[in-house]
């Protein structure tokens, strides 16, 4: 299956893939710090384990970013 993840081609042998699994495949360290947009729609965190990605889906990982110093204050 081929996906576009953050604008880059991502290929996997998996026939089905849920968002949680993709986050692991992409080595996202802190999934809680990521919001996921699938084909232009923000996906609820509760659905990360359920929604199966389809061929040619466009996935964007959006990261929480603070302001530098005390980013995580």
């Amino acid at each position: 299956m081929k996906l576009m993840v953050n604008g880059k081609l991502f290929e996997t042998k998996e026939k089905t893939l849920v968002i949680d699994f993709l986050l692991k495949e992409k080595n996202v360290e802190s999934p809680e710090m990521v919001s996921v947009e699938l084909n232009g729609r923000i996906i609820k965190r509760d659905d990360f384990a359920q929604i199966e990605l389809q061929e040619n889906d466009q996935v964007e990982f959006l990261y929480f970013m603070g302001g530098g110093q005390n980013s995580y204050e």
Binding site: N6, G7, E29, S30, E32, M33, S35, E37, G40, R41, I42, K44, R45, E60, L62, Y63, F64, M65, G66, G67, G68, Q69, N70, S71, Y72, E73
Partner: protein, 267 residues
Amino acid sequence: MDYTDSQLERYSRHILLKDVGIEGQIKISNAKVLVIGAGGLGSPALLYLAAAGVGTIGIADGDVVDLSNLQRQVIHFTEDVDKPKVLSAKEKINNLNPDVNVITYQKMLTADNILGIIKEYDFILDGTDNFPAKFLVNDACIFAKKPFSHGGILRFYGQTITIDPWKSACYRCLFIEPPPLDAVPSCSQAGVIGVMAGVLGTIQANEAIKFILEKGDLLTNRLLTFDALASKFREVSLERNPECPICGENRVINELMDYEQAACKIG
């Protein structure tokens, strides 16, 4: 509004621009912009807004200048260490451009005071450094229908989006709620390359000026990201989220709240 000869000279490179002209410069002179956070993002934004001649600039920040700020918070100098950031910033702005009326708010903005402050301004620039503040700024601007620019920086990355409340995607449309306190990376993983504050803060100032001028296309429904290691900008298209808890179809947030902050300082 009549400009003096020295003002005409000061703003001549703006006035020469077809999309600014004398009319545009007058709009800038009459504009009121509030910068929340006189830190990494706020420093360059404040300097450029002041240089541009924004007539009234509000600065809200409750912190004092720390030595570790100077690596990126370019409005503050070594001699300013321990000085309130709003005063340090005001002094630089007064020296840079005496046309600017600077109003300082030497305090943390909270659910109790933010609405009273932002109502005085045309455009808000979020230069805060933590998630509770970013959500507070978003929610207050949505309730008060104030357009604002969000900016965030981390390590070698930065991102910014402009929000036109109720018309374009808001911060909560993207990030429903603050990350759980125990999910944030350890403090040793934080840190940021100094120039990132300059790149992003300057883009935010540009958004404020475009809004004032009513020219060009704002960064609405588009999250602009910059990767300083790759030297690449990317744009992620977004739209309003019907399930957004504050501007979606079934609003669940009806009042401002102060989220708890994780107790970790890298300062």
